[in-house]
Amino acid sequence: MTTARIRARRLAPLIAGVGATALLLTACSGDSGGETAAPTDFTYLSFAENTSIQDTLTSLSTGSCSAENEALPLDITTQPQASYDQQLQLLAGQNALPVLFASGNSPQVAKDLNDGGKLVDVDAALEELDQSNAIIPAARSTIEALYGGDVYVLPTEFNVEGIWYNKQLFAENGIEEPTTWDELTDAAAKLSAAGVTAFSADGQDGWPLTRLVGNYLFRTIGPDALQKVIDGEASLTDPEYVEAAAAVADLGKEGYFGPSVGSIDYMTAVNQFLTGEAGMFYMGSWILANFNDPEQNKIGAENIGFMPFPHVEGGEGSRDQLAANVGVPLALSEASYGGDVSAWLGCFAENFGSTSLGEQGVITGFAVNEPVEDLPPLTQAVQEKIDATTQSVLWFEALFNAKAATTSQTNASQLVTGAISPEEFMEMVQADLE
């Protein structure tokens, strides 16, 4: 017998042992528990790309919340958005979640964490702190719709979505603000005929296109259109659902998104609108930061109008139901929640809204405790729209799992270029929902 074979024979049990241990470890790793000691810092894990929350928190720590910061100093770490969910999975698996953290790339991440009992019940915590009114009603209703009726996240942004339009181009082509889908397509046709791209859209990321599909569904079937799909009462492949995809595909077929929409990225889409190459632009109100920057905005903020997604004739939904989202909400770790953290939360809830609006120009889901002056007129107008909104709707992928959301967004540009049919598109997304 050669030495190699002797060695192989000796190794066999070792390898088998390693394999068996691995299996055991795998089986156990799911519920590795353990108590975390009280935190020594107010740790916050942020998306590396989002600086406004970090800046607002830093400002709070030296201003309104300096006493809380004394007791529990703020400590910010960042993680790029693309690998953020993995990082959160790792930390959750090790029971090492930071005190405060961005709740991940999709609402599903926070839902999973909450199901695992890892998140603070923000609603109860705020009530205990006598801050029940800190979250404004519109933001609360959006959170409840997103997370199945519970409030366990902090709305550090509150955005409404709709169609921004170039007033000057509308006037030159004799277009009134469209209130119905037919008027919208007429407007697009007029712009197109005048040699202007009707809609500027980021087809590379896909979501600005699927947002249109979602809004169309909310207008035709009503605000619960997608909840019905999640509950299994309806399917995306039903004719009334496919109709929405077909309506958006038709816009593409007419060339209203311009040539090569699939190769347009976010900033290119923004630039197309802000340089007057495109007449309309579906986007959320976070875009105000770009609109209010004269460096980027060549058409002038006074030339930009905002309209809700139009009514669809014969539909159940209404134009008053603005699409809204809470950006990337923050969540608190249950394991490290206690006296000092709750003091921080109280101060956060009280002051975040006005500090963020005043210093960053970002509208949040928190009540503004001190009036902010000198707001840009466009921001003011949007703020008024938000205050007047009583019912909001979500977006197409809001209630989807990560797989269906990815399928929807990566195939959106193919839907509008006609590479896949509306039926195929809806079938693919529905398949991943099951």
Binding site: T3, I6, R7, L14, I15, V18, G19, A22, L23, L25, T26, A27, S29, G30, D31, D85, Q86, L88, Q89, L90, A92, G93, Q94, Q108, V109, D112, L113, D115, G116, K118, P259, S260, G262, S263, I264, T268, N271, Q272, N401, A402, K403, T406, T407, T410, N411, S413, Q414, T417, A419, I420, A431
Partner: protein, 294 residues
């Protein structure tokens, strides 16, 4: 010395540390991942034993079929192209450029040392259409052909991907094969020439048979490398449009880390491992017969 090496304890002491490190960094994760295939979940939701469900899904998931077809298509096309062009370059080095080939060799090898992501960005710029045309579309316009949206259709996206990887790896295979070609003794060529062989017949009867071992290694290298392609696809097309340029590796990554299905992701990894193993065995088997007697 022989007595020392004959002692099992000595062998254990000498091999032990290396074996331990290898076990920790290679074998444990492999078996760990193997263990995951019968579970489903992720560290947030916890893991649940699901038996063979993941394997059943593997056979029923249309995206697996799409990814598998794309992976194989990519592996075959790119292997043929990069080994073929690499061999051609090597022949040029040896028979045409001879001693002067070092500059060309360096230039052709240069893309190999560039980071994949940088190369992908370069190719995105070259082939882009919005907001302004890239160099390729500009050239097309110059000869009267309208701009092409290269990344909008599966076929053109695949073409750009192959072109990019060919440019990136051709030089590597050329150097590898060159090393095999310079090993062929000169006197063999001399005697072949005396026997009247030249050009194609020289290549067919002397060069190819004698460089076959290194050619075969190149093919195994290439097939295994291309079956596991990940970075260039992720950086260039991101698997799109839709999922038409998504190989198994990218689908595995998305499944595990974006969709949070570690178990199913590990099952895809297992599938990929088996495919690589089968392909390697197949190529080794077919090379076992002595081709010089063929």
């Amino acid at each position: 010395m022989n007595r020392v090496l004959g002692d099992p304890r000595a062998i254990l002491i000498l091999l032990g540390p290396a074996l331990l490190v290898y076990t920790l960094v290679m074998l444990v994760p492999i078996f760990w991942s193997l263990g995951y295939t019968v579970f489903e979940g992720n560290p947030i939701t916890g893991f649940e034993f699901v038996g063979i469900d993941n394997f059943v899904e593997l056979f029923n998931d249309p995206k697996i079929a799409d990814a598998l077809v794309f992976t194989l298509k990519y592996a075959v096309v790119l292997t043929v192209a990069q080994v073929g062009f690499g061999y051609l370059l090597a022949l040029i080095y040896v028979f045409w450029l001879r001693k002067a080939s070092s500059l060309i060799r360096t230039l052709a090898f240069f893309p190999v040392v560039l980071p994949t992501v940088a190369v992908a960005l370069l190719f995105q710029e070259l082939f882009k259409i919005a907001p302004v045309n890239g160099l390729v579309n500009d050239l097309l316009n110059l000869v009267g052909i309208p701009s092409v949206d290269w990344f909008a259709s599966p076929d053109t996206a695949f073409l750009v991907l192959i072109l990019m990887d060919l440019w990136r790896s051709m030089g590597f295979y050329a150097v590898l094969l060159y090393a095999g070609l310079v090993d062929i003794p000169d006197d063999l060529f001399e005697s072949a020439r005396l026997d009247g062989a030249s050009g194609w017949r020289l290549v067919r009867h002397i060069v190819i048979p004698l460089s076959l071992p290194v050619l075969l290694s190149s093919i195994i290298f290439s097939v295994n490398g291309t079956l596991k392609v990940f970075d260039s696809v992720l950086a260039l097309t991101g698997g799109g449009p839709g999922n038409t340029t998504t190989p198994l590796t990218l689908y595995m990554y998305q499944t595990s880390f974006t969709y949070g299905e570690y178990g199913y992701g590990s099952s895809i990894a297992l599938l990929l491992t088996i495919i690589c193993l089968l392909v390697t065995i197949f190529i080794f088997r077919s090379s076992r017969r002595d081709l010089t007697k063929g």
